[in-house]
Amino acid sequence: MDLVRVFLSRCAALIRSDRLDEDLDEEVRAHIDLATEENVRRGMTAQEARTRALREFGGVTQTKERYRVQRGLPRLEALAKDTRYAMRQLARNPGFTLTVIVTLALSIGANTAIFSIVNALMLKSLPYPHSERMGVIFMRIQGPGTADQRHQIDGRQWELLRDNAPARCGRCEACSKEWASTMRGRCLL
């Protein structure tokens, strides 16, 4: 609960930091003045009173700095400062900036293009039901001379297969061997 409240208050302080700086300046000034007045009442000269008041306060600048660190979000402010610095440096070296931008643009573009292709071809499944059960059908003509050559089948052969072939899972080695032997001889070329 406390943490939330502190965080919110720090965020709010970021937005109004100029006004709060003025507030702090005035508060510190009031402190020194009040201390000086009291010292004068105790019989010091105006100069003495003021010096004494400042000494008892401790470092005014350090106090304000510590106060600001406590007030805002110093890490976020540092990040914003670094970003502004980076932007200034880039604006100062347009050649370097251009090289960096072009390099980044090309590499991001190439990566995206390659990934799109790989994604469509290899990663995403095809837009059919049970697409994981799809396979490639080819023919292997056995006999002298043409051993182990793969042949694609044409539309007529495909229709023949569709109407005659028994259903198989088609994924495992044993299945496809069995399927192939069942089909052997049935396929009419």
Binding site: E27, A30, H31, F57, T63, Q70
Partner: protein, 112 residues
């Protein structure tokens, strides 16, 4: 300077501020600092400026609130006062501190 003065332990300043506000009512930063110096009989090495981060910390937690007002000498100053949450937390912090102080006292008594 400061040879017989103790440093202010982390967290104790907050409680001193709360107790001061409870005893004195709304008070500006200088008044709080002076009061702490007087009550501690100048036995603390404390820059008066140190109380401002502490006051801010307490405000952020919602334990105290600040308002601009006029001092006895008609000077514009920020006056701090306890909130309801602040009062409740102060009771709890006081208990905490008394427990720690009691434990410490027992250790010191043993070594005598």
């Amino acid at each position: 300077m400061g040879e017989n003065k103790s440093d202010v332990l982390q967290g104790t300043l907050d409680l001193m501020v709360l107790k001061t506000l409870e005893a004195m009512g709304p008070l500006h930063g200088y008044g709080i600092a002076r009061r702490i110096e007087q009550v501690s009989d100048n036995g603390l090495s404390l820059n008066q400026g140190t109380i401002y981060p502490a006051l801010l910390r307490l405000q952020q937690r919602g334990w105290i609130k600040a308002e601009w007002g006029l001092s006895e000498t008609k000077r514009r100053a920020k006056f701090y006062s306890l909130t309801r949450i602040g009062r409740k937390q102060m009771t709890q912090e006081t208990e905490n501190w008394e427990r720690i102080a009691g434990t410490m006292a027992r250790f010191l008594a043993v070594s005598d």
